[in-house]
């Protein structure tokens, strides 16, 4: 009995860690894929796209196993619903990174060089926000007292992301020489990247509620 419980524990802890690793890794892959796209290095872009697909696939498998284990083995009864929601939200963030690269691949937006730096910064903020979310999720499992610090950082990166997104959109729409369709297309991508930070912040808000619920 004891051995079973402990084995199960080690297995599931590793699954959670691996899953969070995938989320973190997908942010980095998205960043390198985006960079390759801006540099028009389509080979590196394809490679990032493939890697992010794999990461998402691994994440899906881990998420499904986790969900099944939590229900089938009736683990953490009081936090089960919260953990499942957390895993789902994290999976959505992972999906957002993958979606961004796929949209670049499908739509091939023409990103003018003058916007490159802002796009880089914007994506950097979203990736940092997701990183902080991953760290707060890890803390939620291991060290509940540290969650608040990380959540604070998510908010910071989200605010930064908002600033850059507004600045970038203004700059795009100031370019009267561009076609409206081009400007709208670029705005769509700005929103797409900014949305990742917004969702990370929503997840941070939910996490702070879970922490209150779990607070002993």
């Amino acid at each position: 009995m004891t051995v079973n419980i402990l084995k199960r524990k080690i297995g599931i802890e590793k699954q959670v860690d691996d899953f969070l690793d995938q989320a973190s890794e997908s942010g980095l892959l998205c960043k390198s894929g985006f960079e390759a796209y801006l540099k028009n290095n389509m080979e590196a872009f394809e490679s990032s796209l493939k890697s992010i697909n794999d990461a998402e696939h691994r994440g899906d498998i881990l998420r499904r196993n986790l969900e099944q284990d939590l229900y089938r083995k009736t683990l953490i009864p009081e936090s089960r619903a919260d953990v499942l929601e957390l895993v789902e939200s994290m999976d959505e963030l992972l999906g957002q990174f993958k979606g961004l690269l796929w949209q670049l691949e499908i739509e091939h937006p023409e990103i003018l060089p003058e916007f490159h730096e802002d796009f880089r910064e914007l994506l950097q903020c979203s990736v940092e926000a997701v990183e902080a979310t991953v760290r707060s999720a890890r803390a939620f499992f291991k060290d509940i007292t540290a969650v608040a610090d990380h959540i604070h950082k998510i908010s910071h990166w989200e605010r930064e992301s908002d600033k850059i997104s507004t600045r970038l959109q203004r700059a795009i729409f100031k370019r009267g020489d561009l076609r409206l369709s081009h400007r709208l297309h670029l705005r769509f991508f700005v929103k797409q990247v900014d949305r990742i930070a917004d969702e990370a912040e929503d997840m941070g808000d939910r996490l702070s509620i879970y922490v209150i619920k779990r607070w002993l």
């Binding site: 009995m1 004891t2 419980i5 402990l6 199960r8 524990k9 599931i12 802890e13 959670v16 009736t74 683990l75 953490i76 009864p77 009081e78 936090s79 953990v83 939620f140 499992f141 291991k142 060290d143 509940i144 007292t145 002993l216």
Partner: protein, 489 residues
């Protein structure tokens, strides 16, 4: 007939299982850490093991029903206690089975004209307050310690989950074992002397004494109670009073066990005495009431708003009602048993101030001239005798006790064949030798036999300050009285 009488013991066991499983696994199941099915199986198995293995130590004692001196009466008393606990179980309230038994015995006392043990009543009343309050305090302190430890050690959620689950199972298993060990004498003890079973031995390896066979049946009855009918009370304790978290669930059962161990364990007391350490005063504690107190303690710590105070009030009311209902059912059932079914429910205990009794009272410094006119008169029961004594003189309760016990007629005769019935190892070799010296002698009062024994050997004497020895001697003397009693139940 034995099988019929045994039925009420089994019914009492079943009710006990159905109600008391909540004390052990209530919070674990309520916090959804252990499924009801799993808890019931664990509890059932360990209740049976506890009954058979450790209950055997109590096989020479009759449990609480020992005072009931006719098997028909024991049948009714067990039935009344079982019925009152059953009624509370149907309603989903955790109550103390021991208190139901005491209430039921009071019904028997009223019916038979024997004296009510007011001490046991006072004990029950103090338990209602002490058990929940002590456990609530311990739960709060333990919870603070455990939550500090968890935060400080940064334990992973799943590790904590696994450890809590393991802790709940461990405490639950020990709790179930002691539930069986402590309660089986109350459920089955009274039937041991009249049991038709004989010892069973399988290939000389596996031995089951007659008492153990009876305890096995009783243990199975308790286990069936747990499996078939305990869910409702479990849910009351585990979720209805206050929605409890897994760690709190563990803290509550741990606090309950610690309170039982520290404040109600004679083993701990005798260990402290042996080590020359100061003892913790023993107070009456009931696990059913303790667990409710533990849950309330956690609720208070969390702000008290989520505690269902209405339910707590109803539970407390049931604690008061249970002994009363048990006494009432017992009284009515005894009337029917005796007058409708023509069964003997008690052996009348007569009182007679014999010259020996008067001498004994006088030796203690009581002026015997005051009740000269009632000595030499026979009284049919304790209540009438006590009335006659009170009419003549004002006595302190100690003096009254002394006169009552001195005048109680309890004829005994020491015979060779009955000495042979004493199980090996139950009394010492010297104690047995002394008994053999008394073969052929008859005594009108039980204390005369005690006196004769203590005059012949130090081993039959009570010793100043040696509580453990005195308790054991008391148990042995009670057994010896039953063995040599002329009017067997």
């Amino acid at each position: 007939m034995f099988a019929f009488f045994l039925l009420s013991g089994l019914f009492l066991g079943w009710s006990l299982g159905a109600n008391d499983a909540a004390n052990i696994f209530g919070t674990a199941v309520g916090s959804r850490m252990i499924s009801f099915k799993k808890a019931a199986i664990f509890c059932g198995i360990f209740v049976i093991l506890g009954s058979v293995i450790s209950g055997a130590g109590a096989s020479e004692t009759l449990g609480k029903l020992g005072g009931v001196n006719a098997i028909g009466g024991a049948f009714v008393v067990a039935f009344a206690a079982g019925m009152s606990v059953y009624l509370m179980t149907v309603a989903g309230y955790p109550v103390s089975t021991t208190q139901a038994i005491v209430g039921s015995i009071i019904g028997w006392n009223l019916f038979t004209g024997s004296l009510i043990d007011y001490n046991s009543l006072a004990t029950i009343v103090s338990t209602w307050v002490l058990s929940p309050v002590l456990t609530a305090i311990f739960s709060i302190i333990l919870y603070k310690i455990v939550s500090f430890y968890i935060r400080h050690r940064k334990i992973h959620m799943f590790t904590l989950d696994a450890r809590t689950r393991f802790g709940l199972i461990l405490v639950g298993v020990f709790g179930s074992y002691s539930l069986g060990a402590n309660n089986i004498a109350n459920v089955m003890g009274v039937f041991v002397p009249v049991s038709p079973f004989s010892d069973i031995s399988l290939f000389e390896i596996f031995k089951l004494t007659a008492a153990q066979q009876l305890f096995l049946i009783g243990g199975i009855a308790i286990a069936i109670g747990v499996i078939t009918y305990s869910q409702k009370v479990i849910m009351t304790v585990g979720t209805a009073i206050f929605e409890i978290s897994p760690v709190a669930a563990f803290v509550v059962v741990l606090a309950e066990s610690i309170v039982l161990f520290l404040f109600a364990s004679q083993e701990l007391e005798s260990l402290l005495i042996r080590l020359g350490l100061p003892t913790i005063p023993l107070v009456p504690v009931s696990s059913s009431q303790a667990v409710v107190g533990g849950v309330i303690g956690i609720g208070l710590l969390k702000g008290a708003r989520a505690i269902q105070w209405g339910l707590v009030g109803r539970i407390a009311a049931c604690w008061v009602f249970v002994p009363l209902i048990a006494a009432l059912i017992s009284l009515i059932s005894l009337f029917f048993m005796q007058n409708v079914f023509q069964q003997r429910t008690y052996l009348p205990v007569k009182y007679f101030l014999t010259s020996e009794a008067v001498e004994r009272v006088q030796a203690s410094g009581v002026d015997v001239n005051k009740f000269k006119d009632i000595s030499g008169k026979e009284f049919p029961n304790a209540v009438i005798f006590k009335g006659a004594l009170s009419e003549h003189l004002s006595l302190t309760s100690n003096e009254l006790d002394l006169i009552m016990t001195s005048a109680e007629i309890d004829e005994m005769k020491v015979t060779q064949d009955r000495i042979a019935r004493i199980p090996d190892g139950w009394i010492t070799w010297e104690q047995k030798k002394v008994l053999e010296q008394l073969i052929g002698r008859a005594f009108v009062h039980s204390w005369m036999l005690d006196k004769a024994l203590s005059e012949l050997s130090k081993e039959w004497q009570f010793r100043q300050g040696e509580k453990a020895h005195n308790e054991e001697l008391k148990r042995k003397l009670a057994y010896i009285h039953r063995l040599f009693r002329v009017n067997q139940p």
